[in-house]
Each structure stands twice: as structure tokens, then as C-alpha cells.
Amino acid sequence: MMNKLRLSSVFLLTLIFVAVMVLSGCSGGKSAAEVTPGTDNNSSKSGGSKDEQVTITYYTIDSEDRTFVEKLVPDFEKEHPNIKVKVDKAPYEQFDSKLQTLIAAGKSPDVTSHYGYGGFAEYYNKGMLLDLTDLIKEDGFSAEANNIPDNLIKIYTINDHVYGIPLNMYVTLMLYNKDMFDEAKLPYPTSDYEDKDWTFEKMVEYARPMTVISDDIAKTQYGLDFFWSERDNRPLYFGADPYSEDTWTNGGVPSETYFDTPEVMAAYNKLFDLIFKDKVSPTTEWSKSVAGQNGDPFVAGKIGMSVGGSWNLAGANDFPFNIGVAAVPWGGNDKVRSTLYVDPLFILKDSKHPKEAFEWIKYLIRADIQEKSIDLSGGNPPVNTEAAEVYYKHFEGIDPQDIKNVYEGAVKYGFESFNHLITNYSQINDMFINEMQPIETGHKTVEEVMPVIQKKVTDIIKR
């Protein structure tokens, strides 16, 4: 009968489909096993004989300035025939979720960095990181031999145990719009950190003639954007440290915080005065309307001087105006004027091949590879001081000597960004963004908000 025929054909189709699914499942299994270090059936854990091939996974952000490492893999594998490197990646927003899922499922990557929202202290306090001290000793690795400044290694050392090897180093620098300076007939600011004349007050003075506030949004421009580094990090520039000293040695758990002290509040007031009193800096609403949610109005040519991370340099060749780099002026703190953003490489605790993973790390910080990485990444700043000489020359139209001055000064007067050093930082950061918003929009004063923040920070740290 026709009916029966049709019915059976439906079942046949379903059967074929199930079979296809099962078959493709098998073939999928093979490829998954290839890339998963956990499924290697070596009994000696790591290292072992030279012939035994292991696969390590390097987990990174899926963006051009990170995934360029894929181009370095073939060369590395040629040098280390027993090691295969698999690069696994995720977009920035999903970086932490994927990492947590991988670890929970026992498929932990071997090498990664704090590329997502969480910072070093968070990883450390969650017990995710492998102590590299023994590996370093066994290998005879030395930071000096790799031209890594000693103070950078110390950032990721807790109680003499090393947990991360620096890979890239971003610093804080000032970018200025030469066209706007020329128009206001101002001299260009210095790149020399030792120049005693270059102070916060002088910078505000420069900003005034460049500021034009007009009803015509196309004409409005501001002299200065000074809202750099994470919100809790900002008082440090003016000489007020909001976290107790022990934070920097005990793995990022402050015993005390000082957000409601007169010094810290005075620092915030000085900063917000730039918007509301001196009126040389834009409000956040204006910045967002000009440059979008996470955009930078400096890029649109509407800001005379902008202090920020040195990653702003990477887009410099595309800016539709001339730029220069300058030192962050002195603002009341004789030791710290710049925030450092040193990205280290970690080996995760669940790595099955820590020795091979360490080989990969050593390879990535070698002078020649760091040099090569500058071009491949489109301007990632190397941690290796030898390679840094090449980095300083990478940007068109900017004097390499200026970049060198600014970098060396920033390292000398630098302090690592708090987001890498304090535990539960993603929660602290979210809280700061929410609580400070009324100050940024001019609806509340610093004095009203800071006691609330002080209480909330204490609660988050205790979690």
C-alpha cells in the first residue's frame, strides 16, 4: 500500500539520520582526542622521553593582537619536535566563562594569561595557578638573561614563589593632538619624566585654551581627558593609596581600605573638578555620545591631551590628525605616576605537561620572538628590553626617542594596575562603576558616595 510505503520511508529517513549522527560522533571524537592533552595516555605525567609527543594548549583571546601566536607555532614545533601547541581561543566577553568551564570539565588549558575580566589575584586566590618556582630552578631560567626587569618579575611573585612570567608590558602615557596644540599656539608637552616643570597644574593650564564648549556639538572640544586606570586606582596618582600596604605582598587581600579618608576623597575631588569646576574635561555622557560605549573621544580628534594605556598607540597610524607622546605630569606622588599593565603567562594547576608548557613560555619571551611578535601583533609592547628598542620605532610619525623616554619613565614611576593585584576584582570593579556613576554625572558628591564605597569594598573583599 502507498500509505505503508510512505510511513516506512519516514522511518527509514529517521534511521539514516540517527546513523549519520552516530557516525559523525565517532569521527568527532577522534579530532577532539587529538587536541585534548588530558587524553594522552602517558604515565610519567610530563616530560618523559624525547620521543613521546605531547600536546599543550595555549588559551588566549580571539583577537588579531593575540591570535598572531598561531603563526609562531610551526617554528616552535620545529625546535621542539616532541611538543605540539594547540591554540584555543574565545572572545573577550566569554573568556572567563570558557576558562572556568574547561577547568571544571577537566580539560584545563596549560598556558594562559588573565586576558578576561579576572586578574592575577583572582586566579591565585582561586588556586588556579601552578607555582613556577621549582620549574624555574630546575630549568635554570633567569629573568636577567631574558632582559626582563627584575621589578616586573616581582609583580607576580608572592612570598618568593613565582606564579607568572611577564610577556607584554603596557604603561600609561599621554597622547596629545598636535593639530590642537598648534591651533592654540602651545608648546608640545615633554616626554621627560624628570622635567620638574611638567606638573598637573601646568597640564590643566595647557588644557584651558584648547577647550571649546559650544552648542554646536561638532565644534565642542576639550583640552584634557585624565580619567585613566581603574576607578579605585586613581587616587594613587595624587599620593593617596586606598589599600593597605600588605595587599601587595599577601596575594591581594587588603587588611584595610581607606576610601573614605580625607586624602582619598581630596584626590577624587581634584579629578572630578576637571569636569565640573575647571571644565577642561568632558563628562562621560559627552564622551559616549562622541565615541560610543567604550570608545575614546581622543580618536575622534576632540581631545587635546589624553592619558591612557599605551595600547592607544596601536591605532595611532589611523588617526586623522598628528599625535605626539608625553610624560604623565607630576601630581603629588613622588614614587608613582603611571599604571603598569604587565600581562604575564601562567601555567594552570591542572596542566598535565607543565615542563613543556614552560618551554612555550620561554620561547614567547625570547628576544628574537618578542621582536617578531611586535610586527605580527601590530604593536604589542614586549617585556624584553632588547626587543623594546624595536617597539619604540614601530609607530609612524612619532619620535622613537619620545616613546623610549615615556616607557622608561613610566616603568621607573610605575605601579601595576590594581585590577591584576586585588582579589575579587571583577566585583570590586562593577561596584565602582555603579556607585561612582552619580558623581560622574554630577548628581552626587564624592563625600556622599565614598563612605558607601568603603563599606561595599570591605564586604566584597571578605567574600
Binding site: A32, D62, S63, Q94, S97, K107, W311, A314, D318, G378
Partner: protein, 294 residues
Amino acid sequence: MNTVPVPKRRAAFSSSGSKRKASTTQIISFITLIITTFIMLLPLFFMVSTSLKSKREMLKFPPTFLPESWQWSNYTEIFDTLQFGTLYKNSLIIGVVTVFGTLISSALAAYGFSRYRGKGNQLWFMLLLATMMLPYPAIMIPQFIFFSKLNWIDTFLPLIVPSFFGSAYNIFLLRQFFSTLPEDLFDAGRIDGCGELRMWYKIALPLSGPALATVAIFAFIYSWNDLLAPVLYLSSTERFTLPVGMASLTSSRFRIPPWHLLMVASVLAMVPIVTLFAVAQKQFVEGIVLTGIK
């Protein structure tokens, strides 16, 4: 079922509109509608316009309305920077199979829920609906562990196979629709010697065009836009889907995102959704015509 009355209202409107002269209120409401349409279309227009701008022009403020120089090459550049063709193909494969899976499984389950009065029928249905309350991040890790035990990581299977096990929302939607089908049709089918399965695909399915089209659109859009699951399960670039590739364009904290290329990708990513909607809209009308009983 809010999708059903739409074509009816439309049909009534066009037939009466052609006969009568438009009144002042009608004219005013049409003008308002036209203006609103333009406002609604503005972001879309801006997307297309930005997709044709140069890298320098996209950073300009105030932004230009139309590109100063039309960069048609952006539309070829995206294929070099992103392996756009591969991403597109992968997303299409996953999307189409997911729609197929969702339609078969959800329609079968919904048919069961609407036609059988078994013991605990309601309880099962409540349980099914309760699964809708679980957000994806809550089941993310256990599901990942499960699929990794099956060795399905870095394949399309974890993204496709779950759709063959029904989805609560779609089952609910179809069950409600199947419940409105007249019992007489099924009685007639039974007299003619139809089995249940045959009644399902000879009577229930052909009469459910609009509902099935809705489910198909929902399933496709969900799969087409899904980002978190592909990010978790896929690790080889050649298996990535469109949203994963597009997210990579804005992933660097250290670079200015290439908005113009992102807009190109968005324009191209919109094409299947718009096409699907156009095709499915026709289905809505056909579904009504085919019903037979009113």
C-alpha cells in the same frame, strides 16, 4: 497565537482600503506610520552606510550620513580578515539542521501533549515548562562535561543534537496550536484508516503552517545568533560560527574595533534572517488558506 490574526487583519484592510476614500485620520495615521518607519529604519540605514565607509571615516565625529568615498572593497575584505565564507557556511549548516531537528521533535512532542489524555499528562507538561526557567549558564558546565565525555568537543554535534530532543518553548507553542485543530478532522482521518503518526504528518502538520513557520524562525534566529555555546564547544577556527567570528572583531581591549567591517558582517548576517522571514510570511497566509474548516 498572535501570529494567526495578522494576515486576516491585513486582508480586511487592503480590501476595504481600495474601495473607500481615505479619511483625514487615515492620512494622518499613514504619515505618522511613514515617519515612524523611517525612524525605525535609521539604524539599519546607518549600518549599511558605515559598512561602506573607510577606516578613517568611520572614526569621524560628527559621523557622516553617507560615505564620502564608497568603499565597496570592504565587502571583499571581510572574506580575507575573517574567513567569512567558512563562518557563514558553518552557521548555515548548524542553523538549518537545528531548524529541522526542532521542527520534528517539538511537533511530535507537542502533538502528543495536545492529543493524548494520559495519566500525569499535566504534570509532565508542567515539568517540561519548568525547564524553561533554567538559564543556560546554569546547565552550561554539566552539559559541557556530558558532551566532552561523548568526545563531541570541537564538533557541531553539541550545537545540533539537543535540538532533536525538543525545546520547551516551541513544544508549548505548538501544543497550543494543535489544541485548536478541530477534532472532526482527526475523526475523519481515523475512519479513513490513519494511524496516529500518519494523522500527525498528514493532518496536524499541514494545517499548522503558521505555527511551524514561527517555530522555524525562532529556532533559526536562536541558533544563528547563539554565541556562548559555540564559543564553549568549538575550538578550531575552521569550525567557528558567524557570531564567534564577529565577536573577535571587537575582542581586543587594545585596538579600535574595525566597525566598518563589523557592519559589513552584520549586513551579510542579516540576509538569511530577512529571507527566512519573507518566505515564512508567505507560509502564514497559506496556512490560513489550507485550514479548510472555519
